[in-house]
Symmetry: C2
Subunit: 672 residues, 2 copies
Amino acid sequence: MSLLVALVAVLPVAAQTPASHTLMPVPTSVSLAPTQLRIDSGFAVTIARYRDARLERAVARAVVRLESRVGVPMSRRIGSERSATLVVDVAGPGFPVPDLAEDESYQLDVSASQATLTAPTVVGAIRGLETFLQLQDSDARGIFIQGASIKDAPRFRWRGLLLDVSRHFEPVDVIKRLLDGMAMVKLNVFHWHLSDDQGFRVESRLYPLLQGLGSDSLYYTQAQIREIVAYATDRGIRVMPEFDVPGHSSAWFVGYPQLTAGSGPFTIARTWGTFQPTMDPTRETTYQFLDAFIGEISKLFPDKYWHIGGDEVDPKQWNSTAHIQAYMKAHGLADAVALHTAFNKRLFGIVQKHGKTPVGWDEIFKPDLPTSAVIQSWRSSTALAASAKAGFRGILSAPYYIDHMKAASDFYLPDPIPAGTDLTAEQQAFVLGGEACMWSEYVVTETLASRIWPRLATIAERFWSPQNVVDVTDMYRRLDVTSRRLSEFGLRHEEHIARNARRLAGDSTALFEMLLDYVRPKDFGGSGSTQLFPHTRLIDAAIPDPRASWDIVGRARRAAAGDATAATQLRADFARMASVQPRLTAVRESIPAANDGLQVAGAMANLSRIGLGALDFIGRRAVPDAAWRTDADSVLAGLAPRRIGQWLLVPTATDAVRTLVDAAKGLSPVRP
Amino acid sequence: MSLLVALVAVLPVAAQTPASHTLMPVPTSVSLAPTQLRIDSGFAVTIARYRDARLERAVARAVVRLESRVGVPMSRRIGSERSATLVVDVAGPGFPVPDLAEDESYQLDVSASQATLTAPTVVGAIRGLETFLQLQDSDARGIFIQGASIKDAPRFRWRGLLLDVSRHFEPVDVIKRLLDGMAMVKLNVFHWHLSDDQGFRVESRLYPLLQGLGSDSLYYTQAQIREIVAYATDRGIRVMPEFDVPGHSSAWFVGYPQLTAGSGPFTIARTWGTFQPTMDPTRETTYQFLDAFIGEISKLFPDKYWHIGGDEVDPKQWNSTAHIQAYMKAHGLADAVALHTAFNKRLFGIVQKHGKTPVGWDEIFKPDLPTSAVIQSWRSSTALAASAKAGFRGILSAPYYIDHMKAASDFYLPDPIPAGTDLTAEQQAFVLGGEACMWSEYVVTETLASRIWPRLATIAERFWSPQNVVDVTDMYRRLDVTSRRLSEFGLRHEEHIARNARRLAGDSTALFEMLLDYVRPKDFGGSGSTQLFPHTRLIDAAIPDPRASWDIVGRARRAAAGDATAATQLRADFARMASVQPRLTAVRESIPAANDGLQVAGAMANLSRIGLGALDFIGRRAVPDAAWRTDADSVLAGLAPRRIGQWLLVPTATDAVRTLVDAAKGLSPVRP
């Protein structure tokens, strides 16, 4: 008996099995354990079985990241002893270049004494290392890895992000930070939109006027492209280039006007939309040019897919050019759409000749195209389903345009294969996955991270995790931690509001931070925007889904159901929101940005008033009077998109207040 | 009469002449006017008289920065009309490469309708453009440039920053941001410490093992060096390389052990201090190597000066090597110092043969050296004065080691030619200026900006502004604005505390921000530090002179003199300081960094208690009792540097509390 007491005394306090984890994306199966693997300067890592330089670099990066969290140096040596803290056990190399057919699965077991990561491929191990790092937590004794047993594999094998570097260029380091973040949330395709009307961003040595006249000297050298491809390869990320043709291609024609039927000279487009200059599909020289160009540039990109664009072809130029009309007549092409398809068929042949599989936007989908092509749906999941039914493989982008300033939850729930799909299992297999799209009309280097992160993590989870992972509240809980983790790479999204509030408002920084807690930028920001527009106004300081706004919708739902705690929290939110207008008014004499804020501050005050009123009725279970109902309806109607005109910002609380108003309106008179 | 009324009615409200400006460094003469030059999208700039590409680029950069502040696009065209908003009127090119003899003066006149910047040289105009941008302010009507008439020229013509990239490497983009900031505060020498025991950072094609084995692959290619030199040249900044010999040179010997008398193999040093491996000054091959090396590398650096280092030569190896001892005897060299001087004479000849003037640290100064050399004093202004008396030109660095974690005010007041100097006017002319030194043992890319900015701006002002500009309170007032302006370039110093508090403390971010408001990092941070040490602990999150600490010393001085407002403010400071300890204790179970904070939090609470007690005695004019005096003395004695041992942080309020305690102790009993 006394022996037992002594034993208990020296045992450490038993760790509890935590109720939840902060992994993002959620793995296929997770079982947490009441153990903790302590991490300190004695941490050692080994690679068992297969090892190569890529795996060693991946393991070394994980050690450095862990070391940074512990704050003391660790051994950089990667041994092969089975007794190490972390054993990475990989069966073989997998594809040396990331491939659509890659097996990305892994298994991770963490006990109190050791973690074992098992994977069939190097990329599987790379995915598992991210999960290992996400299991890190801390307590008074320091850093530990939560005990767990995890089996994991992606639901979709194409999980991408498109970045448009034509409308606004991004330097190499920004791309690398983006790839770091993508790897953290297990995305595996970097879709690089490299040309458009507003800029041609790649160095061609065969056709140097492409970048020479079409880029304002903002382009990637071939060495830089190789550097980025290598960086992505190290992280298990494919790099698929897009050179959008035959439309969206004004920038090509600045240097090579002979590619188009229109009369030049041509200039780089500085505004947004579609433009008339279009490639001439009737000339052999056009195909000779594309053949040579693709032959040159495809050598820089080892990925097996080549994106030809193909969206939004303006038919005006084709329809108004005599020799094109004659060609169409001679070849029995009824209209511009038919001509576009004929062009695509020729282009597909060229792309395939250079060893690549073509990918294109919705518009290229025509039943008589070869089904080897992959269709990227920017229009709708219905369009994707249609091409799947026709036997085409496809990826979904329509719901994932993260240049749109929507909340993370808006991106989280849409599914590449929605519940209730009418696709057969065989047809569903044609849906390879999806891609988030970051079009860059209104984004510059200084704002890019704040527009992508952390929202992209929720889309990454949709593409990776089981279909039934749809709890928005839990998503936001994990997103909070994930967002902080992403800062580890130097991504600046978390600092965006504070940095810009200080820049715009100086001594009134706190007021502007409060304002920016409850607003988001309006989509398609500001009239008169061009490529040369400075992005330094209040709309650029705002972020699409501010942390302070995350909880309001949930609180409103709970308060509407009578939860008093949620109501109290909401009253504090509304008081803060309402305080912004008078305070902004007080500083407008010295801070010009206050005027942009005052566009929306009145609406925030009105929403606060209505919200507080609704909470009051709900709390008292009192039926709202007609005057209040009219006021509430008027405030909410005033926030309809068509009503807010030239505002740069919109309040984030509108939906929450609507929930409360609906709840208040639904109250029945309390029986006496 | 009615006409007069009407006229008055349409006149804009007369602008007031502001009482003060926010220019940093303060110009030679400033006269503010009650006018405002409004800046909007109609802003136009012209270059009158002389123009060249460098001037055009400088003007274009200024326009883009102004445009960013206004938030609307402006014309990028640089015309030549005399009616433009800003007329830049330059007499001639000056030196095409920034030169010690450059005339950097300018004159700037801003009226309600036009600004005119006149300068004898392009660099003078570059300096004036920074002043123009610093005159920008805003009100309810938008952005304006304050009316002013300014004449300006630097007090010293050598105003530098040394950056050590050997102990820790910094990438090209970081160097560019540093040059941006330097140009903003009118510094004109980037002293690039490119080799030391811990790394050789330049690509040599003649001796590729220098960087091949001596850099961990962290070095600048020759193309990158040219890129940085061009970037600096565009901003009127000289780039002076330093290759420290014959000591501090272990990294050379990894690839070329034959340069030293010691026996190899040699490795890159990972720890700090001085190391025994030293160049062998007795072999002709050493000089042949240095001749070829300097011949190659000097072509990359157009600056006329070449820094040979020469500091901290450890004599052990020379004294213990037979052939070196024999050589010394044969040549009548009495000791290692004499041998070092003989080495320097040979080296000077090589440097001069390649068209450069040698610069070296204090230790090279010997009366029989050629006086063409420039002496950089890292030891004291007395040492600088001694070499000036011997006819050597010199630059002062001793008081400007910004790797030391002192307050901005500590760097602000020391003068290269202190008041009361015994140097004659002729000898004073030998003092060319000074250099701040950023040694990098304890700094990495993530922390660099927070260690340099904004404190460097105060040193820049010392080097540029008239000697009588010494008002510390006014310096801090302008530094606050200057710090914010420096963020314009993407420098991250202002976000440092918040970013790291969030990284270390998650939900307790506000608590850690409060802690970091009242502490600074201890110099020479943390035992066991090596080149591979992660810099992610609380000491790395702290900054040397936090904004919240700026005011405490001044408030204490005023409160000690009986100022009740200052006392009230201080009581709030002390309450915040004292609240940190219990709150850190409460979270130490989940946040390991709390333990580092608790090292200092007790001292903060004690300082608060003593400070509040002293304020109480002062407020009541009551003489402190003996027990309180003992307590106060004990608390202050406990904060002596030798007492705080392994702490990572020290409180910033110690001096302020000492001021209060002294004032309380000095109270006389109030007569009844």
